[in-house]
Amino acid sequence: MSEVVISAKSVGKTFGSGVDKVTALDDVSVDIFQNEFFTMLGPSGCGKTTLLRLIGGFEQATSGQILLEGKALNDLPPYKRPINTVFQSYALFPHLTVRQNITFGLEMQGIARKQADDRAEEMLELVRLAQYGDRVPSQLSGGQQQRIALARALAPAPKVLLLDEPLSALDLKLRKEMQVELKRLQTETGITFVFVTHDQEEALAMSDRIAVMKSGEILQVGAPREIYEAPTHRFVADFIGDSNFLVGNLVDDGAGKHAIKLGGGQVIELTQEVSGQRSGEVTVSVRPERLGLVAESKANANHLVGTVSTVIYFGTDTTYQIDLGNDALLTVRMQNGSGAKADFAQGERVGITMSPDSIRVLAD
């Protein structure tokens, strides 16, 4: 990809001291590229806002540093950083009109009144609120305020735009609309967006790359497909979409091929490279929709075999819970409709088909 814009190098951040000490970020390193829609995804309290505030300059890192285009930002105050923020609460200035809100940042840069006003019109067009320039924020709906907050942050043409859960206050329909809108704005302006959310669907739908965070650490960074199809950690596989987890012993056939031996003696062949040091008990994950069912009579040696314990019909698809024995349960989701001959009853013995590349060996 292109140049690195933001680079976090072993960034740590703690709040408080003594018994009240909270580690919000622990040795976080990540590169964010030019012109990319980068999302930080994680549960509440994992340090997303903290990392964003460090990039914006509202907090100082306890250790490590953050670089903007290769230059350390260290003590640079927020007003000297070419980085703007869309706050979760929008934080529009209530005493200024929409237009004055948008020109605020331009004025601070010393841009002439006339030019600033032209730019404000341009921004209002961009967020499709051209007629609203003379209103004050309290006369706007939540979604409109959201757009104005965007316009205000985009007006000074920052190198990076930080967005802290900007859609969380909107209702579902508006949120979907704004997701499309945000993506469009990012493509049209070519500005690097660093977006924070704890909504995995939102992250998958909008991002070029996603960083999945957990208690102050980044576990995995990758494109949405990569994160979904090839999670590296149990947490990632669990947090994004549904996953089956199976625990077994890693066995090596000596020729570089690996397999997982489950408690009941059944074996899953792997195609994934497994680092040499790994041995003993490991966890693997597989997505329910990557599994299929066949009648036991048609199952061969490569298939796991189990008993159907529950069947849940969802219309577009049906979810089966398969008991593999030894407390191992698998969820299988099969699409209904075209050519699907899948119709298995509770208690039936079935064979489970899985493509080897859908099985991921997870880090602990």
């Binding site: 105050p77 007003y79 923020t85 934080a91 200035f93 209530p94 005493h95 605020f104 004050v136 309290s138």
Partner: protein, 296 residues
């Protein structure tokens, strides 16, 4: 109207309405009446004998030929009082805003304590406080002595019994009235708005002038009114710290009811003051109506 009287809520506020109506409106009307009567020769008034002398003599006096000539004595006292009150308001604002701002940036537990400290002077008798200031300000007093001790030759501070002494005393007395409303407006100011200003490139000074001050403006205006208006009516402080040489409106009114034995003039002066205050309040509310809802 019938609805209002029948409603329970009316009976809840009725005692307050009666109290305020009786004890506020009646004396006011009585004084309005007095101001339009002829003065009695030995104080008091000649009841039932109407005369607009009080209001005429505010601006004019009669010369020996019984002609009206302009007399600015009272106007000067009014102007001086307004000037001094304005000066005091400015002092109080200069001291009060930073104080309120500082308190609003402290952790919650500290804030309540600091606000408590600000209100402590209220708890002491106003006479005691003014005598204390006399001891502080007089030549050879605590301040003068300390300056001399530090090697700064004052040759006598000569502050006591000047308008400055009065203004210092009034600033001290009314400072909490400035701090509290400003603090209230700063406290509910959303800190994220300040962060947004920084984010958009405003340095500390411009975040202050472009965001914090405009949003605190209603509190500042309220503080200024709460200092300015009681200052206009100050009686004790000009009497003590001004040494009686320096008359303010309240002292003038006091003297009309006392030594000068001109009750109608005293009452009339009170009403002129009331009119001026009402006019300035109207200007204030008009000015702040033009601000957007949110920041009020």
């Amino acid at each position: 109207m019938g609805n209002i009287i029948r409603s329970k809520r009316f009976w809840l506020v009725a005692p307050a309405v009666v109290y305020i109506g009786f004890f506020m409106a009646v004396p006011l009307l009585q004084m309005a009446y007095v101001s339009m009567l002829e003065r009695g020769d030995y104080g008091g008034v000649n009841w039932g004998v109407f005369s607009m002398d009080a209001y005429i003599s505010f601006i004019f006096e009669r010369d020996l030929m019984d002609n009206l000539v302009v007399n600015t004595d009272y106007l000067q006292i009014f102007a001086r009082s307004f000037g001094l009150s304005a000066m005091t308001t400015v002092f109080a604002l200069l001291l009060g805003f930073p104080t309120a701002f500082y308190i609003s940036t402290q952790p919650q537990s500290r804030r309540n304590f600091l606000i408590f400290l600000v209100t402590i002077p209220f708890w002491t008798n106003i006479l005691v406080r003014n005598y204390a200031w006399m001891l502080l300000l007089r030549n050879g007093g605590l301040i003068d002595g300390a300056l001399n001790w530090m090697g700064i030759e004052t040759g006598g501070l000569d502050v006591l019994y000047t308008p400055y002494a009065v203004s210092i005393g009034l600033t001290y007395t009314y400072l909490p009235f400035m701090v509290l409303p400003i603090y209230a407006s700063l406290e509910k100011l959303d800190h994220r708005l300040v962060e947004a200003a920084f984010d958009l490139g405003a340095d500390k000074r411009r975040a202050m002038t472009r965001v914090i001050l405009p949003l605190a403006a209603p509190g500042i205006a309220a503080g200024c009114i709460l200092v300015f208006i009681p200052c206009l009516g100050a009686y004790v402080t000009p009497e003590l710290l001004g040494g009686g040489k320096f008359m303010m409106i309240a002292n003038l009114i006091g003297s009309q009811f006392g030594a000068a034995r001109n009750w109608p003039l005293g009452a009339g002066l009170g009403f002129v003051l009331l009119a001026l205050v009402l006019i300035s309040m109207m200007v204030y509310s008009f000015k702040f109506k033009s601000l957007p809802e949110e920041s009020r």
